[in-house]
Amino acid sequence: MNAPARPAPGVVRSYEFPVVHRHALANGLRLVVAPMPRLPLVSVLALVDAGAATEAAGLEGIATLTARALSEGAAGMDGATLTARFEALGTVFEGSADWDSSVARVTVTRSRLDAAFPLFAEVLRGATFPEADVARKRDERLVELQQQLAEPRGLADERFSGFLYSATDRYARDLAGTARSIARMNAAALRGFHAAHYGPRATTLFFVGDVTPEEASALAEREFGRWSGGTKPASMAAPSAASAVRRVVIVEKADAPQSELRVGHIGVPRGHPGYLPIVVMNGILGGLFSSRINLNLREKHAFTYGASSLFDWRRGPGPFLVSTAVKSEVTDRALTEILREINGMRAAPPEASEVALATDYLAGVFPIRYETTNAVAGALAGATMFGLPEDWFSTYRTRMRAVTAAQVHEAAQAHLDPTRLLALAVGDATVIEGPLAALGLAPVELHSSEHDPAEA
């Protein structure tokens, strides 16, 4: 049997990101509509400029708790009734917060939009935050935190931020708050947060799916036209690193068969002009399956099931970090290989074929990423949150393909810094401490899993 040779690609078919219509109501609320009429489905998303990054000290987590408790009471209905109303319409009201915004969203079938949208609006505008439900949501958040810290992955992520940022920085603490800050929350605090931050001037409303700009506009005007109140939040202070030198930290987990490794440092804000070359650089380093770090740690050495790197994009400088879980006995060797790849990225420009792999992938995968109404709504919300130009998506693929090896190399030299890396391992200290110390990177600091540097 003949083996057919690798086929050449066919003719490229054109792709356009959905056309975006923008409009503002008289009260300042912005409306963004992206029709995707292929299926009878509409995603509605409200982006409120009220993120965790600007929360007051001691009230960390209030943005998340407020968003989660929105649907616990509104329009004369309690939480159970509201839940039943949304679910009878085949949807779920989702409230969440990120570092730079709060988000409420529902996805409904076309025929139920007219019934679901007023309910969505009532909850967003008029949430009442009943005391008993706020207390329950607060307790559930405390449980969530306990569960997260009992998981090696969750513990590693949590402690990495804690050791990385200066203890006074908001970024040193969990997005959704700490045990200490959450315990302080009550209905009055949430009502205050909602009244101060949720309002038309701080809100952008997105409609994506089987809906016309006219329909969306009429719905928005009817339900939000007379909404008032809410102010923009204060800006955040620039975060700073807890340490200017390299650190190696072990968070003890007795008998762990694997070490959860996190290696990185403070990165750059999303608004950085070198964003695209940094994304490509990270793709080559550890962002793709075929990246240097994954091929090294997984396919060459079989230390792990997977290893990756990311820049956590926020308005402020979020972390750059490499994440992996490796067999305990090879923790030191895995760290050495990670450092080798970071140094290698800085040492010389990447091969043209590596740059092409990353840019062709990131440009090519774009239409696949945005097949769903939810994904498009989320992407448009992100663009608004970060203040990206309106043509960001329509020009993205062209700009991505223009990134050069020289730019990638420049990004690596400017934004990877092996001299101030924090290497943190959640693992069995009796197995990994000696080998990690022997690497001579920095004195090994040993901490119990209870120790939270940001709360110490």
Partner: protein, 428 residues
């Protein structure tokens, strides 16, 4: 809303499902092999999944890891997954790259073995052992996936044993095992190939014929051991697992008819009444009202051979006694049996399923996988379109009758996780 799909069978037995949709210039190639952990021979648990890893290690014309690289260079996404009775592989690409995916899949279906080496096997064995450490051994409650099927299926049943496999059995896997498994199960007549998205059917058929047409049919596969079981457990089975966790967690399973049967749709809708959405019975009672649990859901395993499982999965708040958790979950199930399902509960569940159904049609990858699933298990991909109607045909009376017949004490299996003494002290 229907997914229009055609099914043809090549002379070598490969079934080819085509589903056109030109909304976005992307296309998915999705290949199901009708083999999973159930087909493993004794002493080789985890082999089907280890084998899935080996399929990314190259074939006659594809270097190790080049499969990933070529698809990513083409702007595509890809992966594979192993289940009890099937293994799937899929690539979603810009539509002009369709033939690349077909070529990659055909090369490994026709010519995998020339590329297999001991070194590759050793590497992937270690990768999988790390996958096991990561997902099972170093993860709170991570062993549930092994313990629940072990509790619900008898030791001789092909669904009884671990899918990820034991370290010992992974160590024992040899290149001969790879060759034997490949020749027996990775044959065109044991596979369904679905192409979904933006393509021209005539062109696609020609490509499929070019790349798959000459691959020889297999010699047949050994039959699975008997999967038939009595309709219920006949008892209340129990397993208690101490683990390094901060809170108790209960998996309460019921044996139900296999996926695809009329009664399965009844069970599936009943599962949604119990545990889909915060307004369903378990989260409403245990999370919202009684403050005993932090999370409560219900799901089916979707097994289409012999019987399936409906599972309630409820995580307690820390400090809640395991016995109290179990009593509270059981009280909800008993309440359902006693009082029956209401019309509002049925409507709520159907509405949520309808939105999920339409949402699931949005991506070519999800659609392609559904088509392969129905072609593999039911013989006809178009049957996927009957799903909403089959759920909608379930009456409240049928659900109540099913609950009374199948959710009672003689058809329950409890897997209860309890915090180890030291772990629970830590949490306090």
């Amino acid at each position: 809303m229907r997914i229009p799909a055609t099914q043809d069978t090549l002379p070598n037995g490969l079934r080819v499902v085509l589903a056109e949709d030109h909304a976005t210039p992307v296309v998915c190639v999705n290949l199901w092999y009708h083999v999973g952990s159930a087909n493993e021979r004794e002493g080789r648990t985890g082999f089907a999944h280890l084998f899935e890893h080996m399929l990314f290690q190259g074939s006659a014309q594809v270097a190790a890891n080049e499969h990933f690289e070529l698809v990513q260079r083409a702007g595509g996404t890809l992966n594979g997954s192993t289940w009890l009775d099937r293994t799937n592989y899929f690539e979603t690409l810009p539509s002009h790259q369709l033939e690349l995916a077909l070529w990659l899949e055909a090369d490994r279906m026709a010519r995998l073995l020339p590329a297999m080496t001991q070194e590759k096997l050793d590497t992937q064995r270690d990768v999988v052992k790390n996958e096991r450490r990561w997902s099972v051994d170093n993860q709170p409650y991570g062993t549930w996936w092994e313990r629940l099927p072990a509790l619900c299926f008898p030791p001789t049943h092909p669904f009884h044993h671990s899918l990820i496999g034991s370290m010992e059995h992974l160590t024992a896997a040899s290149l001969d095992d790879v060759a034997g498994f490949f020749r027996t199960y990775y044959t065109p007549d044991n596979a369904v190939l679905t192409i979904c998205g933006d393509f021209d059917p005539a062109e696609a058929r020609a490509m499929v014929a070019r790349h798959f047409g000459e691959i020889p049919r297999g010699a047949g596969k050994p039959p699975l051991p008997d999967v038939s079981l009595p309709p219920t457990f006949g008892e209340w089975r129990r397993d208690v697992a101490e683990d390094a966790v901060v809170a108790s967690r209960l998996f309460l399973a019921f044996r139900i008819p296999p996926a695809g049967s009329t009664d399965w749709y009844t069970a599936s809708l009943l599962g949604a009444v119990l545990g889909t959405g915060e307004g369903s019975r378990l989260p409403k009672a245990l999370v919202r009202e009684q403050h005993l649990a932090s999370d409560a859901t219900a799901f089916t395993f979707d097994l289409s051979k012999g019987s399936d499982l409906l599972v309630c999965d409820v995580t307690a708040r820390p400090g809640v006694e395991p016995a109290r958790l179990e009593a509270a979950v059981v009280a909800e199930v008993d309440g359902l049996i006693r009082d029956g399902v209401t019309a509002a509960e049925r409507e709520r569940a159907l509405a949520l399923l309808e939105t999920a159904w339409v949402s699931g049609l949005q991506s070519v990858g999800a659609r392609a996988d559904k088509l392969s699933q129905f072609a593999t298990y039911q013989g006809d991909p178009s049957l996927v379109n009957e799903e909403p109607a089959r759920h909608a045909a379930v009456t409240t009376e049928a659900m109540t009758a099913f609950a009374r017949a199948r959710l009672g004490e003689k058809n329950r299996a409890s897997l209860l996780y309890v915090p180890r003494a030291d772990a629970s002290t830590e949490a306090a």
